[in-house]
Each structure stands twice: as structure tokens, then as C-alpha cells.
């Protein structure tokens, strides 16, 4: 990258699958980074929500993941690339109420089948790709003024 612009930022964070104790650390981190960059509160909140939903999904359904946060003039981009079981039917997974969450996930207060819809609703642009046995790739873009 060339000269750093005042509101340009890029960082990658790893997520460990299966570990509910650490779930949310990445999104909490992203939130404080965006705040420090002076991004408006409602946009920081959207970015935190989408990354947290994605993080919970990685912890619930994947082995590990990397989260790429990129802030460019006009947008915050969050990419979550996991290695794991993948999603056999994305249309089904995107349906509100569809969930394969187990008892452990439900006990933590998750597994209503709302996460992916919520990610889509809070993103200005949302892409999902997945390959069974390989992993899932989410890309969320939230526009900044």
C-alpha cells in the first residue's frame, strides 16, 4: 500500500473454532479499532454486529478462520474466511429459522437461525460462498459517509 490515508486501515485476526470462551474477542477488537479511527457510531455498531455473528458461526461450525478488516474511504469491509464443514445449501442456511446448532450452542443463547439474515440486513453489500468439506467465505461491506 502507498501513503497511508487518514482513514485507511487493514488488519487480519485469527479465530479458533470450537472455543466459546474466545468468541467475540475479534469483534470487540474491530469495534474499538473503528471507534479510534473516528468512524461514526452507527457504522461501528453495524460492523461489530456482522463480525460478531460471523465469529459465533465460526466458533460453532468451523475449525478456524481469518477475519480481514479493511477500512477504505467510503467503506468498512469485513471478510471472514473459514476452514471447516462448509454449507451444503446456502439458500437454506440463509432462511430465517434454519439452524443445525447443537445443544451446546443453544445453551449459550444462539442457534435460532437468524445470524446470516442479520449479517445480510446490517451489511450494505453481502457475499457468501461455501464449499462442503472446505469452508465458508463471507464478505460484508458497510458504507461510511
Amino acid at each position: 500500500m502507498g501513503e497511508p490515508k487518514p482513514n485507511l486501515y487493514s488488519e487480519s485476526f485469527p479465530i479458533e473454532g470450537g472455543n466459546f470462551n474466545s468468541a467475540g474477542i475479534v469483534s470487540t477488537g474491530i469495534k474499538s479499532i473503528l471507534k479510534k479511527l473516528g468512524i461514526p457510531g452507527d457504522i461501528v455498531r453495524k460492523a461489530a454486529i456482522v463480525s460478531y455473528e460471523a465469529e459465533i458461526n465460526v466458533v460453532s461450525y468451523a475449525k478456524k478462520a481469518v477475519v480481514n478488516l479493511t477500512v477504505v474511504p467510503g467503506a468498512v469491509c469485513i471478510e471472514v474466511i473459514d476452514e471447516g464443514q462448509g454449507i451444503p445449501n446456502i439458500d437454506l442456511a440463509m432462511q430465517e429459522g434454519y439452524s443445525t446448532a447443537d445443544q451446546k450452542i443453544r445453551e449459550m443463547g444462539f442457534g435460532a437461525g437468524m445470524g446470516l439474515c442479520n449479517i445480510r440486513n446490517y451489511s450494505d453489500d453481502f457475499h457468501i460462498e461455501s464449499e462442503v468439506g472446505k469452508g465458508t467465505h463471507l464478505k460484508m461491506t458497510i458504507q461510511t459517509p
Binding site: G24, T28, Y52, Q95, E96, G97, G109, G115
Partner: protein, 124 residues
């Protein structure tokens, strides 16, 4: 109303955020399902819940929840208390059940952060 008044109405004990009692709140959301909290709760609201794990704090943090009210006399674990202190999210605990907690606050003017969900397909 101020958080101190919420505390009085609910005969609650403050576990984290003794210094936040002047905080102003007007709305609340109640659920034991964080999936629903994430989809519906608005910034600056109270979160009424019976769940006490650390994900409740993480959820409150990403949503900019003003304070967490634990219902049914639930007490958070030391990890939950530590995380809430770190992220500066007040936690109160009340012996009232969720229904009573919501009702008592509603009578005094706290409203839902939304009253109805929009039409949805296949919500379970």
C-alpha cells in the same frame, strides 16, 4: 429514567457499574436468546435476560446496550463480571422474573426498543 431508578423499581443489586447510575435509559429488550437480541435490540436499550455467560456481555457490547438486567435472581460468573467491567457494561440483578421485570419497568415508562417485528417468513 436514570439507571438508579431502574435499580429501585426492580429492587435490584448492582454488580458492575456502581458509577453508571446516572445513565439515562428509555427502552428495553428482553430475551434469553442472544440470536434475537442481536437481530432486534437497539443501541442504548436495557437488556433483560436470564442468561449469564460471557456471550451476553459480548452481545451487549456489539449492540451498544446501556446496561444488562439479570432476571430471576441470576448471578454472573466471575469471568462475566470481569468482562463487563473491562467493557464498562453495567450489570444489575433482580429477583423478579422476566415478565415482572418488564412489566414493572413498562409501568414506569420504559418501552420496548421495538413493539412488533416486521412480517417475517418462516420465523420459528
Amino acid at each position: 429514567m436514570k439507571l438508579s431508578e431502574v435499580k429501585d423499581i426492580l429492587d435490584a443489586e448492582i454488580i458492575v457499574g456502581e458509577d453508571c447510575l446516572d445513565l439515562e435509559v428509555h427502552t428495553a429488550f428482553g430475551a434469553d436468546l442472544m440470536s434475537d437480541v442481536l437481530a432486534f435490540a437497539k443501541a442504548g436499550s436495557l437488556l433483560l435476560t436470564g442468561l449469564t455467560n460471557t456471550q451476553v456481555i459480548r452481545t451487549a457490547n456489539v449492540l451498544d446496550i446501556a446496561a444488562i438486567i439479570l432476571v430471576r435472581g441470576k448471578k454472573p460468573s466471575s469471568e462475566t463480571i470481569a468482562l463487563a467491567s473491562e467493557l464498562k457494561i453495567p450489570i444489575l440483578t433482580t429477583k423478579y422474573i422476566l415478565f415482572e421485570t418488564a412489566g414493572r419497568l413498562y409501568m414506569k415508562g420504559i418501552v420496548g426498543c421495538l413493539s412488533k417485528v416486521e412480517n417475517t417468513s418462516g420465523r420459528t
